[in-house]
C-alpha cells in the first residue's frame, strides 16, 4: 500500500528528475515551442517540494492536490494548468484514504488524465503530454515498470506526429520530426513514480 510519504517522495523524485533534465526539455521546446518548458517545470516542482515540506499533508490525495495547486500558482503557460490539473484531479479522485493500492492509483490517474484532456481539448495523437500519459495509465494495471516503459515509448512516438495543440501547432508540418517536450516531461513524471515504487520494493 502507498501512503502520503510515498506520494511526497514521488513528487521529490520528479523535482530531481526535472532538475536533471531541464536543459533537454528546453532544447526540445526550442525546436517547436518557445524554449522554456524546462525552466518553467523546474520553477514549479521546486515550489512543490518546498510547500510539501512546509505543509506536510497527511494523505496521498492531499499531497497531490496541494502539489497540483502549487504548480498552477507558479508555472504559468500551458504546463501550469495542465500539470496542475493532472495532479489535483488525481488527488481528488484518491479521496481521504490514508493508504491506496496500485489499482486505486491507476483509476485516480485516469481521472487526472481525463481532466487534462478536457481542459486542453487534446486527444491521443495530437503530439502532447496525453501521448505519454494515456499509455502509461493503461499499462499501470500490469505494474510500475510497464507504465514507465509505456510512457517513454509514447513520448518517443510523438516524433513523427504533426502538432495539433499548443504553440507547436502553429508550425504545422514543420513540427514533424521533433519529440514533444510535454510528452517527454510526462514520461519523467511516470518514471519518477516507478523509481519511487521500486525503491520501496513495490
Amino acid at each position: 500500500m502507498l501512503d502520503a510519504d510515498f506520494f511526497r517522495r514521488w513528487m521529490t523524485a520528479t523535482a530531481a528528475s526535472v532538475d536533471r533534465e531541464a536543459e533537454r526539455l528546453t532544447a526540445l521546446d526550442s525546436a517547436i515551442g518557445d524554449a522554456d518548458h524546462g525552466s518553467n517545470l523546474q520553477r514549479g516542482f521546486t515550489a512543490v517540494t518546498a510547500v510539501l515540506e512546509k505543509e506536510a499533508p497527511q494523505t496521498p490525495g492531499a499531497v497531490l492536490t496541494l502539489a497540483g495547486r502549487q504548480l498552477i500558482s507558479t508555472v504559468g503557460g500551458a504546463s501550469g494548468p495542465l500539470y496542475g490539473t493532472l495532479l489535483r484531479r488525481t488527488g481528488k479522485a484518491l479521496g481521504d484514504a490514508a493508504e491506496v493500492g496500485t489499482e486505486r492509483l491507476a483509476e485516480a490517474l485516469r481521472a487526472g488524465v481525463d481532466g487534462v484532456m478536457t481542459l486542453g481539448g487534446a486527444a491521443p495523437g495530437d503530439k502532447t503530454m496525453i501521448d505519454a500519459l494515456v499509455p502509461a495509465v493503461d499499462a499501470l494495471a500490469t505494474g510500475f515498470a510497464a507504465a514507465r516503459a509505456a510512457a517513454e515509448e509514447g513520448a518517443q512516438a510523438t516524433t513523427p506526429l504533426q502538432a495539433r495543440k499548443g504553440r507547436a501547432s502553429y508550425l504545422g508540418e514543420r513540427s514533424i520530426g521533433h519529440q514533444d517536450p510535454g510528452a517527454t516531461s510526462s514520461a519523467l513524471l511516470i518514471a519518477a513514480l516507478a523509481d519511487t515504487a521500486e525503491a520501496d520494493g513495490e
Partner: protein, 330 residues
C-alpha cells in the same frame, strides 16, 4: 550573448522595479506581479485586465492607465501569468461593475485566464472575456489551437478601455472588444529570431539572407521561409495576406509594429510602403500608429495590423488615453 541583465531568474522582477520607479501614476506589486492604475477601482467603471508573457513590452503594463487597461499581469518571459495574478488584479480593479479580461489566443493564456475567472467569480466578481485572435498566418481549424492573438490586442485594449471609461456596462464593453477583434487582422515578418534570457541563444535558426513570414510574438517560427526581400516586397506580402482574409469596407486603423530590434528609421520606411500598398488596393487609412508596441524581445522585423473602424470605433479610438506607452488627449 550579451544582455543588460543581472541573472535570467530575476529579469521580470528587475524590470518591474524599474517600471515602478518610472511611472509613479501606477501601483506596481513587484512580488505578486500586478500593475494597477493608482486610482483603481474607479466607481461605476468596468475594470479592464490583461496580461501575458513578459518580453512583449510595452504590452501590457505599458497600456495601464486612464482610458485603457485598469491592470496588467506580466508572466515570466513568453510564459502566461498564473491565475492568482489575474484574480488579484480583478479584485483590485472591480468597482462592482465587473471586469473584462482581454486574452490573447495562446493556450497558456487561455487556460490561466479561465482558471482566474473561476477564482474571481468565487469572490463575487462578474467576469467577461474577449479572446484576441487576429493573426492570419495561422489557419484556424478544429485541429489547431486557432489563430494567435498579436497586434490587434492594442486596438482591443484601447477601444474597450475607452468604452469602459465612458461608463458603459460590462456586456457593452465586452461586445465592443469582440467587435474590434472580429474586424482586425495581422501579419508579421521576422528578419531575425529573438533570444530569451533563460536560453541565452536564438529561439530558432534563421540563416543570413533569409526571412521568416507569418511569425507570432514568441520567437516561434512562422509559416514559411524565403530569401530576403525588400521593404516594399515585404509590405506587399504582409498587406495582401491581411486583405485576402478581410476585404475592407471601412477606413482602417493601421498599426505598423516593430518587433523589438528594428529601428524606427526602418519602420517608417516600411510604413511608407504599407501605405503605398493600401493606396493601390483602395483602402483608406483613418488613423496610424508606427512604433514598437507588441514586441518579441530583440526580434528584428515588423507586423501589420488593420482594424476596420466604423464611426463608433473611431470615436473610441480618439478618446483620451494616458498610459506609459500610449497617450493623447489628456
Amino acid at each position: 550573448m550579451r544582455m543588460l541583465i543581472n541573472v535570467p531568474e530575476t529579469v521580470v522582477a528587475d524590470a518591474l522595479r524599474g517600471f515602478a520607479a518610472a511611472y509613479p501614476d501606477l501601483t506596481v506589486d513587484v512580488e505578486n506581479r500586478v500593475i494597477v492604475r493608482r486610482d483603481a477601482p474607479v466607481a461605476g467603471q468596468v475594470g479592464l485586465v490583461s496580461g501575458g508573457g513578459s518580453g512583449h513590452e510595452p504590452l501590457h503594463g505599458g497600456f495601464v492607465g486612464p482610458g485603457m487597461l485598469s491592470a496588467a499581469c506580466p508572466g515570466e518571459v513568453f510564459t502566461s501569468p498564473v491565475p492568482d495574478q489575474m484574480a488579484r488584479a480583478a479584485a483590485a480593479v472591480d468597482s462592482g461593475a465587473g471586469v473584462l479580461f482581454v486574452v490573447k489566443n495562446y493556450t497558456g493564456d487561455v487556460l490561466n485566464f479561465d482558471m482566474a475567472a473561476e477564482l474571481a467569480e468565487d469572490e463575487g466578481i462578474q467576469i467577461a472575456k474577449v479572446l484576441v485572435d487576429d493573426d492570419v498566418a495561422v489557419t484556424d481549424s478544429l485541429y489547431t489551437a486557432g489563430r494567435r492573438g498579436t497586434g490587434a490586442t492594442l486596438f482591443v485594449e484601447k477601444i474597450a478601455g475607452a468604452a469602459a471609461a465612458e461608463g458603459q456596462p460590462l456586456e457593452r464593453v465586452e461586445a465592443i472588444g469582440r467587435k474590434v477583434n472580429e474586424n482586425s487582422r495581422s501579419f508579421g515578418v521576422a528578419l531575425s529570431a529573438c533570444t530569451t534570457p533563460a536560453k541565452g541563444s536564438p529561439t530558432f535558426d534563421l540563416p543570413d539572407g533569409e526571412l521568416e513570414l507569418g511569425i507570432g510574438i514568441h520567437g516561434e517560427p512562422g509559416r514559411e521561409r524565403r530569401p530576403m526581400m525588400t521593404s516594399g516586397e515585404i509590405a506587399d506580402f504582409a498587406v495582401n495576406a491581411v486583405l485576402e482574409d478581410m476585404p475592407p469596407r471601412d477606413p482602417v486603423l493601421l498599426l505598423v509594429n516593430g518587433l523589438g530590434a528594428t529601428p524606427l528609421l526602418e519602420l517608417y520606411g516600411f510604413h511608407a510602403e504599407v501605405q503605398r500598398v493600401l493606396r493601390e488596393r483602395g483602402v483608406s487609412v483613418a488613423r496610424t500608429l508606427v512604433g514598437n508596441y507588441v514586441t518579441s524581445l530583440d526580434m528584428a522585423g515588423a507586423s501589420v495590423t488593420l482594424c476596420q473602424a466604423d464611426e463608433e470605433l473611431l470615436r473610441l479610438w480618439d478618446a483620451p488615453v494616458r498610459t506609459p506607452a500610449l497617450r493623447w488627449g489628456m
